[in-house]
Structures are given as structure tokens and as C-alpha cells.
Symmetry: C2
Subunit: 384 residues, 2 copies
């Protein structure tokens, strides 16, 4: 049906009506007092969401642009960095390093498994000459639904003392706690179309004082992505280049909604939805791609057996106007991914699960009894 | 008055209601057939607007991001380039080159004057070893309201044969003719919040086959701004990184509006508004900052004598909710700038002129008789 689309993908995520309406306001001048007021307010809100007193900078860019900025502003050619790589997005950060002539060592894990914090510890401890300049970690690996153990890795980085820790928090921020100051995270990048409940178009980068120290001597070239320019302008509640003004209107509303819900409630909601989705898939006999202990709070990847992932997606789209994500690269056709990120309610989880059940019935899938998925999800949702 | 704001600045520019409402639609997945259809349609529309068969790529970025991409994808460290510099924005492109280790020679002119095409010709003709890799020109210099003679400069670049011509068309595209294929322009960058009648958030770069040839050997590092990635994805009506989906909805509507009006009518409207504004300022005894022969079709800079530019701006803002732009950098307080770019009608010009007249009356300015500005503007508008 037209206009009945329901997004259950890891971005773009659903957007609340009042956020959409804020987008439709007439733009204002970005060098005005009115804009400065909005900027001041959203920066405060972002600091709250990021659990930090550090700078949080706002770019007109996708999450990749934000993450690239978060890396290239603090490194020089030939710098030695460790990159955790266990999926499409973490792999991307290794590629960015290579493009800029940064000396990358990868700590890899099979797609679907988390990177091993001990592998980081070993390399960091062995680096007695303190040559490792940065450790780059993807918190929630969107391509596989794996949540890496950022807290433990960050502890090892802090023990090293020299290296910065740079985090892709694109699908973890606003879904699970990323306590930047408590964990001592130096760079944390994210994008608007994820936990922020906004359409795509803005990227965010939180930067620690230690990272700013590295900025002073970092030599990779950048201009539009030069975060020093954003910091300088932010001191005057402004931006160095024309900001995506209407997205700021929307961000202002979205942050108010998030503040009204409260951080702990937001995280609990994502946890509940993750557990309900996983319980439902298990009850339906559909194998989960990531272990419970490493489950992303934003997305659940499912690797069905005896039924085609793409057929399930196709039925959900055609019959129920629900969009699930497919697998990327080597996982194409092998998994489907249920997004439960941002503006998602308990009702949405029941809806997605019941539609998956209906698809399984249509496909004559026999590993589960009809109704088992919804029952399992409902149990989690009502107990929570 | 609340919600009565009228933007007469060179960006953000006013946005039509149906474009704003398109922004407020629920996002769709960017890896969907529905998005691919929109992408195919807007790329066709952009080619029409750019008067080109070349690629036109769409970035989630400001105009500066688009222009930087347009430069760094086709150059290597140490390359010799000529940059025309006669204002804040053209000055910026010289800085970008410097950041990337490109060897910049600047062809400067006083702010308010156009760069001299003959200065380009001389350097290009003297370069018999064909070492100049690019000539970088700002078509409409937004900071001063000067339109540089791009057509003549591009002719000299074509005669050189080797150098690429890279153009900042941020406030000329959609306001005056920029016939990319006819003039042989290699790179043309622009931004959504200008002639496109959209809020800020998208950047556009048109790229010629000759520039793509240079891309193959160009060595400046880039990832998010790597236009080769955008070209590759565009072949499948997609983008390499998450696009600003809602801005695509808006772009689709804006391009339809522009196509309904027609290129020639759009250009004639901007010409008429430029002439009417200039005639009015002259009738009011307010000196224009750029000569008639080099007047930008997007913005008219006025350098008032015996009355303060900032006082005029202040009265327009406070009493009439009209936002004019001020001067930038060394022009701060010395000029005001009237934007007539994008979704601006004849009525808007009369409105702005009459408000400027009212401000002059309030300031007891005596160089003109009341009503002279509106009368002069009306004459241009009714004759055209």
C-alpha cells in the first residue's frame, strides 16, 4: 500500500511526526542569533546524549564522513594504528587509513563474531615504545549485528597511555550506553539517521582534550572535514560552513523527545526490543547470527536455515510494507537483519515478528509452530 | 513578528511550500528500488539544470565540501594550479589547495572587482610546458556580488589544452546560464541552499570525462569526498554512503518546479531582479559595490555612504523581519548584501526595496527622495 512503509532497517530509521514537521519549517539564516540559540541548545543536548563534557561537533555529512573526520584530524602519514575488523563498517575504517597512508594493523574476527579484546591488549602491551597512535573500534557492527566489547578494549587502550581510542558508534549511540567520559573515549562518531530519530544528513563527532592535543601535530590534509574549524566556530555557536539548517530544527525536537524519555529508558527500550526479537527468532527456529552475549542493541541478524532470507524479506515488503535489511557483501542472501533502532515501540516489534511468522507460513516453513514467535516476543515485552 | 521571516540573503534562500512538505515525508530505505527511481529522476533533472551530459554527483555536504571534492579528486601534491581570488570564497579555494600541498598561484583582484581574464591568458600562454594542471574560478563571488567572466577564462583554459577548469558555481548555478558542455567546464560545484530552492545539506559536483581522466592518476587522499565512489554508485542509481534521503525528496520537487518554469525564464527572472535591485539602489543614492558589467545575478552588494550599512540591516530585521546579509571579513560593516537568488518573486524585490526606503527615512538619510527606489524597481519590473 502506498504510504504504509515501515522501516525495520538499521537506518534510515523511523522519524517521529513532530521531528518531520520541524524539517518542513522555513529555513533561517545560519549567521543569525536565532540559529546560534538553536546551536547552543542542540550542543548541550548532544553532550547529554554522549554522556560527555567534551566537544561534540556537527557536520553536514553521513556517518562515514563523521568517522573519517574523527580519524584524519588526529593522525599523520605513517602513524601506526590498530583497527578492529569484523564486518563491513569496521573494514571501511581500515580502508580509510590505507587511503591516507596510515600504517594499519588489523585485529580481525570472523563476521558474526566480536573482535577479541585480548588481541588488542597483547599488541598494546607489546608496544613498549608507545608507537601505536590510535585504536579504532566499531562498537555496533551494523553489517552483522555484533556489539564489540568497547569497554574492555578502551580499558586496555587507557592502560597503554599513548594511543587514542576512536569509536564508530553509528548504531550504538542512543541505543546503548556509550559513556564517553567514564570510559575515556577520545573520538566517537555517529550519524543522524540512527539512534537520533532523524533522517540522514548530519554526522556527529565527540572529541576529547587528549585528541585535540594530537590534532596540534596531526598532518593528514583536510579542509571540509577539519574538526578544528568546527571547534572554533562552535565556541560562537556557529559552524565553519553552511550547516544543514532544517536538520538542526529537527535535531532540536528529537533531542527534546529523547530527554523526555530519559537515557536509561531509551537504553532499556532497545535492550527489551533486542531480547524480544531474539526470543522470537529462537522460538521460530531461526538461527541468530550473533551470540546473545554480543548482540547489537540496534539490529538483529538472522541466518535462516531451510528457508531463504531473501524470500522472507520479499514477502514482508510486498505483503506487509515492512522493510528488513538484507546481508551485505559475502552475507548477501544469507541473512536478514531486523532493525530496532531509534523511534521503535514495543508494538513495532510485535508487528515485525508477526509478519515474519506470516511469511514463514506462506513459505511452508516447518521448524516452528505458528504463533510461537509472537508469544516469545510478548513474554519478553510484558515481563520487562 | 514570529514566523514572518523573509530571507534576502545569498543562502539559505526561501524554499517553496511543496518543497518543504516533501522534506517532512517519512524517510525510505536508500538501498531500495523506490530510492533508485528518485535518484535516476533527480540526476536527469540535475543534468538539465547543469546543461551537461557529464556526471552530476550528489553529496551530503555543504557547497564547500562539494568544491573541495571537485578539487582534490583531480590533483596531486605539488601540482601547479591557478586560482582566481577576488573575495572570501575564491580565497577559500586557494587555502584548500595549500592544505593539500598543491602549488597555488593566485590571480587576485581587489574585492568588488572581477578577476582579469587576461591575467589568466598570460600565464596559460606562458606555460608552454603545460605544467598548469587546473584553473580554479569562482563564478559568482558571493562575498562581493561580483560575477567573474567565466566564459572568457574558460576559453583561455581550453586554448591551453592541458589544464582543467574547476568552477565554484555555488551562487551562479540556477541563477544564470552555466553551459557546462558548451564552455567545456570540467568541474562545477554548487550547493542546495542557493539557486536550487532547497535548504542547505546537499552539494553537487559536475565532472567532465577529461576530469575523470585526471582522476585516474590524481593522488590527493580522500574517502568520503572520493567522487569515483559516487560515480560508481550512481551507475546503479545509488550512493556510496547514506544519502540525505529527505533532501532527495525535496530536490525532486524543486527540480520539477524549475523545469516547469524553464531555464530561460529562471535566468531572465534573476536578471530582472538584479537590474531592478540595482536601479533602486542607484535611485536611492546608495553606491553599488560591483559594476553593472560584473553584477552577480544572485546578490547585490551595496556600500552606503552617509548611512550605516548595519543600521539599515538592523531596521529591516527588527521592523520588517527581512534578513539582508552583511559584509564579511574586511567588508564587515561596510556593505550590506541583498540576496535575490532562488525562490524570489518580483513582489519580493519591491518588498525589500520599500523596506530599505523606510529604513533610510527612519535614519534621516537625505541623498534621495522617498519613493524613488520603489519607482525605479517598478520600472524595471514592468518593462521586463
Amino acid at each position: 500500500m502506498d504510504d504504509k512503509l515501515m522501516l525495520m532497517i538499521p537506518g534510515p530509521t523511523p522519524v517521529p511526526e513532530q521531528v518531520l514537521l520541524a524539517l518542513a519549517k522555513h529555513p533561517i539564516g545560519h549567521r543569525s542569533g536565532d540559529f546560534a540559540k538553536i546551536m547552543a541548545e542542540v550542543v548541550e543536548g548532544l553532550k547529554w546524549l554522549h554522556q560527555t563534557q567534551n566537544d561534540v561537533l556537527i557536520l553536514a555529512a553521513s556517518g562515514t564522513g563523521a568517522m573519517e573526520a574523527g580519524m584524519i584530524n588526529f593522525l599523520s602519514p605513517g602513524d601506526r594504528v590498530l583497527v578492529g575488523n569484523n564486518g563491513k563498517f569496521s573494514e571501511r575504517w581500515a580502508k580509510v587509513c590505507q587511503v591516507y597512508g596510515v600504517n594499519v594493523e588489523q585485529v580481525t574476527a570472523e563476521w558474526g563474531k566480536p573482535v577479541d579484546p585480548e588481541a588488542f591488549r597483547e599488541r598494546l602491551e607489546a608496544d613498549t615504545e608507545k608507537q601505536i597512535k590510535a585504536v579504532i573500534v566499531t562498537h555496533s557492527e551494523t553489517s552483522t549485528g555484533v556489539l564489540n566489547d568497547l569497554e574492555t578494549i578502551s580499558r586496555y587502550v587507557k592502560a597503554h597511555g599513548e594511543a587514542l581510542i576512536m569509536v564508530d558508534a553509528v548504531t550504538s549511540l542512543g541505543a546503548t550506553s556509550v559513556p564517553i567520559d567514564e570510559w575515556g573515549l577520545d573520538v566517537v562518531a555517529s550519524g543522524s539517521q540512527k539512534g537520533f530519530m532523524l533522517p540522514p544528513g548530519l554526522g556527529f563527532v565527540a572529541v576529547s582534550p587528549k585528541a585535540w592535543k594530537a590534532y596540534e601535530t596531526a598532518k593528514l590534509p583536510r579542509f571540509y572535514l577539519d574538526l578544528g574549524k568546527y571547534r572554533k566556530s562552535a565556541k560562537e555557536n556557529s559552524t565553519p560552513f553552511t550547516p544543514a539548517v532544517n536538520m538542526f530544527f529537527a535535531l532540536q525536537v528529537a533531542l527534546k523527545l529523547m530527554q523526555a524519555e530519559g537515557l536509561e529508558n531509551i537504553f532499556a527500550r532497545h535492550r527489551r526490543h533486542t531480547e524480544a526479537t531474539r526470543a522470537a527468532m529462537k522460538a521460530l527456529g531461526l538461527p541468530l547470527f550473533a551470540a546473545d552475549s554480543n548482540a547489537s542493541p540496534a539490529i538483529t541478524a538472522v541466518a535462516p536455515v531451510n528457508v531463504e532470507a531473501e524470500q522472507i524479506r520479499s514477502i514482508l515488503k510486498k505483503k506487509f510494507d515492512i522493510i528488513l535489511a538484507g546481508g551485505q557483501d559475502q552475507l548477501k542472501g544469507k541473512i536478514f537483519r531486523v532493525g530496532h533502532l531509534g523511534f521503535v515501540s514495543d508494538r513495532d516489534i510485535l508487528t515485525a515478528v508477526s509478519a515474519i511468522e506470516a511469511a514463514l507460513q506462506e513459505l511452508h516453513y516447518e521448524n516452528s509452530s505458528p504463533g510461537a514467535g509472537v508469544a516469545a516476543a510478548a513474554q519478553v515485552l510484558t515481563q520487562a
